[in-house]
Symmetry: C2
Subunit: 576 residues, 2 copies
């Protein structure tokens, strides 16, 4: 890694001289090959362009409240980059720009930084790019590293992105989960941008981080500070999107990594013929990842949290559904299968939420006696659910608490819980003579291994364009927008680039008696094309074993440019 | 899949007519692209060849006993395929050959079958290939499917391997774990090969299956039956190898799949900077997979079972080693890391074996009283170990038993156990003021997802050559050999092909007062090049974060033909 770009101590002593040897020892062959991968730009970014404003925007909900919260930014139009005969923005003014990664990793983050870096190189030579270290805390504490062209110069003639492009992870400047929330923290951020004399700040993050970006933009604008703020949509969960922002980066790569593993497990299931694999997939708030993986691999069962919530399903309902599929498959001679479960399943089940609320109340005020008298404090419904849970889960609910004394829902291994519940029900069916078995459950959690893979060609190119477009927006004085690259089903040349008013994605939530702005998470739409496609196929997949093994992500050749099903279906680019 | 080759009911009704449409719906883009991948053959198999016998062989140990157990086969020479000016074996005699997959899946199995099928097509036209279904049980019950050229004919002009080559899994004819052991079972096997009039049988399996293949060969030869038996080295664990059999197929693919995941987790660890990832890897008897993954990815810690056993390490030793690395890393500012653990670790720790033996004894005869009086029956050493174990593991040892009432060692999640033990020790260090933390452990098990991936180009080509060579050996009347393809560090054209006497790989074990022949599992050699390379690097990897992210397996381009480190080091093809 180029020392200029790296904060981890272990590379700090490496000078440019030892680069070549260094490269071989820090990069695998595939990583090295990725450095050569060209990063095509949409033609609108390659040629002279100007920025055209659209009509005034509103908000995703409660526009009056959003207007009050963002008096300086509310109603901003979108800003579209269009070809310009007169040439691009001409300005001799060099820029000072900061960039920050916020929240969990998503493959492609480094390429966003490459994109803005190259924009500055190509259009505003002599500009400075700072990388804030360790997320928003880096802004507040003014901890940064200079990603300067000057320092990079020795490598420039070889390959500008020698050390960074197309690599997974966020280790270039690291990320963090801190938020800039309190007046003091806003003050710290102000001090930092004043100290560094920043013209702009690029915030790469999820819904919270982009809300935060907009609050910063509003604050700076309100104080007549010159610092503009542009956001960038990052999250593997795929739940930061809108009409203008077709997808968040990282989703494509993460789903393909999980789908590879699922496909392998499917072939194993079929070859062995004796395991039911219960696969829990990352994605707490929304089930986009599970849905996309289902569309890619055709598992026998996929539980979609949003459907569970909409139909107010209980854990018993879900267990029964799985058990019924297993019974019917056994009749067909299949005692194996693959079942996908979203990480956040439990949060979607209303009765579980009630039980947990009641347990938190009881744990806070009562003693959990061994004779179970405490259970009398549960409502009938919650008691019934509690008794239905496997013993290990019961104990976990009672024993493991977070620092506030609350039940640790996140620690529940849903896939293991479901295996136990299914096993119990199947034993009953066996006693009733309705099932002969055998049933063997295998649990999997595919999580961290999907967040930091090498980005797919799609994510790599998408991120580069997002970063490049963010540079254009910042240079043209825009603030409070999120970088938006569209027309993604078309070839890259035809992709569009624009900025969308962050306030237009917002609604308010009431917290502690106050309205708080939030970018609403985009949930799986039960009326949307991806879910409808899944719903139309799931019975066939349940009983006819239509397993597909997507195989490992390819970076070259005809299979390297596939785009995920969710995006293509949402764009109407394939039949649903 | 071609109906002729498939036993799963769901494809049974598909006729050749609907092939094209069917293909699109059962194969992913990458799978489809694999079908076009050429399968190069070693030049010795492409041109006229003859078979030259080597010198008489002996056994890996106790040759006298092996000679007694294999009176007809012991001492057989190896059979080497060499170029022949006079042309290849000429014979009009069509062959009837059976093929069986035995034991766990390994990527590439289908290609072995393609290899022998093509050999028959190329050299003994009109021959018949039967696939026994569901492993050795298929032989005993005479359940098979005919993999005939005639049936495949409609596809032949398109692509001979249209439906099978380069695909992971064993779903073509499925596998099974049954053994042919008792006199009745040998009788059944005889009946089957007589009924089908088999000239030869190809057994694709691990050490047990190849031992079994040799017993069948001996049995058939002893009864003057014409059926020859050839084995083929399969196991992702990599523990079936010798001087003549440089590697077992599947190891290359499995390690690369695991290494991809480990590499991703490493980048996540470094980007987040707050997790210690404990990764358990498949491989019960030997630690080759863990060692190979370490060589590919450079984790901070890798536990190699063979070293643990050789140094008679205790669980406390291992815990202390991990804790010390964590303490030293904390001083360097790193509160994250990646630790690899072989699935079979517990089996390598002598004290754990003693404890489990004592527990089994106690569980069989005593009552586990709540006051813990039963513990007095443990030896001091075992008691000390038991008390050292985390409570959850203690409970698991006492509560979960197999049908024979024994402790279920295989069910222990070693990675979680180590996290708990490390956590406990770190808390002590914290209280002593020697460690500030924080420590957050994340557990992973990478297992099933590595057994059925699409085979790497190496495994695909290696398997095809193994199958093709097996055809040549069977046609030339050889029996009791294992197909052996060598010179693997050279280009494929220069690979060698031969058959190695299975008896030469054998030793005896005493079971129930009798000598039983066994192919000794090849363990990680502490004096071998791969371990020595690892041992020379591990301190640097522990503290200097030399993480490498191998990325996903590539099938085209310059990075698609890399061979695993273990093989290259063992062949002396790279510096150790």
């Amino acid at each position: 890694m180029a020392p200029s770009l790296v904060v981890n101590g272990d590379f700090a002593t490496v000078g440019p001289a030892s680069t070549a040897g260094r490269l071989a020892s820090v990069y695998s062959e595939v990583q090295s090959s990725r450095i050569d991968q060209p990063l095509p730009l949409p033609s609108v970014l390659k040629n002279p362009f100007k920025i055209v404003d659209g009509p005034p925007s509103s908000a995703a909900g409660n526009p009056d409240e959003i207007a009050k919260l963002f008096p300086n930014l509310f109603g901003q139009p979108s800003a579209m980059l269009v070809p310009s005969a007169e040439g691009s923005i001409q300005s001799d003014q060099k820029l000072k720009i900061g960039v920050v990664l916020s929240g969990g990793q998503a493959p492609g983050g480094h390429n966003v930084i490459c994109g803005i870096f190259d924009y500055l190189q190509d259009y505003v030579k002599g500009s400075t790019l700072y990388g804030f270290k360790g997320g928003p805390a880096g802004i507040m504490r003014c901890k940064y590293v200079e990603l300067t062209a000057e320092y990079i110069h020795p490598y420039r003639n070889q390959l500008i992105h020698l050390f960074i492009a197309n690599q997974g992870g966020f280790d270039m400047i690291c990320s963090g989960r801190d938020k800039i929330e309190t007046p003091e923290q806003f003050k710290q951020a102000e001090e930092t941008v004043l100290k560094l004399d920043l013209d702009g700040l690029l915030v790469i993050g999820g819904d919270d981080s982009n809300t935060n970006a907009c609050l910063l933009a509003e604050n700076f604008r309100g104080k007549n500070m010159k610092t503009r703020v542009i956001g960038c949509p990052k999250t593997i969960d795929g739940d930061l999107k809108s009409k203008e922002v077709p997808t968040s980066f990282g989703f494509d790569t993460a789903c393909k990594i999980y789908a590879e593993m699922i496909g392998n497990v499917m072939i194993d299931a079929r070859s062995t013929g004796k395991y039911y694999h219960f696969v829990r997939l990352m994605g707490r708030a929304a089930s986009h990842i599970t849905l996309e993986c289902a569309l890619q691999t055709h598992p026998n069962i996929s539980i979609i949290g949003e459907e569970v919530a909409a139909k107010k399903q209980t854990l018993k309902n879900i267990t029964d559904y799985i058990v019924n599929v297993i019974l019917k498959r056994a009749e067909l001679g299949y005692n194996y299968g693959v079942i996908l479960i979203p990480e956040g399943l439990i949060d979607f089940i209303p009765e579980v939420q009630y039980l947990i609320a009641e347990l938190n109340e009881i744990l806070a005020h009562d003693i959990i006696d061994e004779n179970g008298l405490w259970k009398k404090k549960l409502t009938d419904q919650s008691l019934k659910l509690f008794e239905f849970l496997p013993r290990a889960i019961q104990e976990q609910l009672l024993l493991e608490r977070d620092p506030h004394g609350n039940v640790q829902v996140a620690k529940i291994e849903t896939e293991k819980m479901l295996i136990q519940m299914v096993e119990t029900e199947l034993k009953k069916k066996q006693q009733e003579g309705l099932y002969k078995g055998p049933f063997m459950g295998q649990s999997h959690f595919f999580g961290y291994e999907g967040r930091c893979g090498l980005p797919t060609n799609f994510d790599a190119t998408y991120c580069y364009a997002l970063g490049y477009a963010a540079g254009a927006l910042l240079q043209s004085g825009k603030t409070g927008l999120i970088s938006s690259v569209g027309n993604l089903a078309a070839p890259v040349e035809q992709w569009t680039a624009s900025g969308t008013a962050l306030t237009s994605l917002m609604d308010v939530e009431r917290r502690h008696g106050k309205f708080k702005p939030v970018i609403k998470k985009a949930m799986v739409e039960l009326e949307g094309a991806p879910f409808k496609k899944f719903a139309s196929m799931r019975d066939e997949w349940a009983f006819k074993n239509r397993y597909i093994s997507p195989g490992p992500i390819q970076f070259v050749g005809p299979t390297s440019n596939a785009v995920n099903h969710t995006l293509l279906l949402e764009l109407g680019a394939v039949q649903s």
